[in-house]
Symmetry: C2
Subunit: 266 residues, 2 copies
């Protein structure tokens, strides 16, 4: 899949692009089935909410689950990022953020590149996030909040927050967020399961807790140019990957095929 | 101010009614000025967020502030409630909920009447909330989330939550909230400062934390029929009032007059 000139312009100006309903219900179905199996696993990659057994994040599940192995090489996700970054990419991070009904906790205001440069010594912000909604995302179940245009502020000073939630993050101070939001406003892209959201690694974003009775699972691919590979390996390999092999996309029907194979064998 | 037949029908069916921009910028201005003074006070009525100096709630400020004394007897607020409840009313509770930028914490899922019957022995759910937005309320700064029609479920079993936030509340369990929201959905009325929101004392509602850089102050009047006065006085008087005198509304321009007097003396 290639992005149109309008898409490219919006992404350049706003720092994000929302593409509703790009994966079919059948494709979302197989991803949801496999997500259930993953979150039932007891392994280091599956992180729980602070002081709770409720799942928060499943890291690197493309390395231990077939549906997510295919999603991590899906042309609808990889091709647009290669198009924007202008060169081959590898997977820097891959995760499902669960944001469970009633229990899913917030993610504080941050830029992803803030963590990648501080913790992983990624040389330049030449990386991109692209995500797939596994559930309908509404204003009520903890949608991502984005400050449009904030990627143009460059990489902002951040502090290492190791206490607020169960996952350490380099977060921004209130004055910085206020100044950017007073200028750019806030948006929270919402839409049906199967929608895609792309955003620049310097976009300022956060997400509130999920108080609703509905889960809000989103898969995030963080793709980085192979010539921009990280230089420092302080985080676990399942959080900051060290395999810099360029991704070769699979066929567009790879998830459909898996869904049908599993339907036959079930 | 009297409600129209359409308003009455909506309130009866949905359990809430949103009336945008019913107070003018001048009226909101005087309320905002006085709110600042109130939250600067150190007194028992002004409750802070858990483990923080950030203001959460100013109770009973109609008893120690002139602008809020007038608001508590404002005909745009009192008349519609008298109309709905069909008899004279007194003030059961009066408060500003601050929901401060970045820091304002959540209110868990609850019915107000759950607390009023359990803590205060209010005989019947013949009371009503009516509120005024002192700031623009957006999807981002912690709007009230309401389950439309949930007031028809009656008074639901609740548990006393004394740990989640700084204010004890009788809250509902997840299964109850899920069943109601799967049927009725969720709404979060948003609109400019000066808007009014009325809701039944048995409506199921909650509000998320405010992660945005913008405050979200709302004044809440809880009006109760004088013949439905509370029977038990376990909570402080500034939280559950014991003066059951019927409210006689002031003139419609009472806040406008105060704004002009203070402008002259300033």
């Amino acid at each position: 899949m290639q992005l149109s000139p309008d898409h490219l312009r919006a992404l350049d100006e706003q720092g994000y692009l929302f593409l509703p309903s790009r994966f079919t219900p059948e494709e979302v179905g197989i991803l949801r089935e496999h997500r259930e199996r993953i979150f039932a696993m007891e392994r280091a990659e599956v992180v729980r909410e602070k002081g709770s057994a409720v799942p928060r994040t499943a890291f690197a599940c493309q390395t231990y689950d077939e549906a997510y192995r295919r999603l991590a090489r899906h042309p609808r996700l990889v091709d647009p990022v290669v198009q924007i970054l202008g060169g081959p990419v590898y997977m820097h991070q891959f995760k499902i953020n669960a944001k469970a009904a009633f229990e899913g906790d917030q993610w504080q205001w941050h830029q992803d590149y803030g963590t990648w440069v501080n913790d992983d010594r990624m040389p330049e912000p030449r990386a991109m996030n692209i995500s797939v909604f596994l559930d309908d995302v509404t204003p009520f179940n903890g949608p991502l909040m984005i400050i449009p245009g904030s990627h143009r502020a460059g990489t902002l000073r951040a502090s290492h927050d190791t206490t607020t939630t169960s996952y350490p993050l380099w977060t921004l101070d209130h004055a910085t967020v206020r100044a950017l939001a007073d200028r750019g406003g806030l948006v929270a892209p919402t839409g049906p399961a199967g929608s895609m959201l792309m955003f620049h690694c310097n976009i300022v974003h956060a997400s509130p807790a999920n108080m609703s009775p509905w889960d809000r699972n989103i898969v995030y691919l963080s793709l980085n140019r192979t010539d921009n590979a990280i230089r420092q390996f302080t985080r676990p390999e399942y959080i900051a990957h060290r395999d810099f092999t360029p991704i070769v996309p699979l066929a567009d029907d790879t998830l459909q095929m898996l869904a049908r194979e599993e339907a036959v064998t079930a």
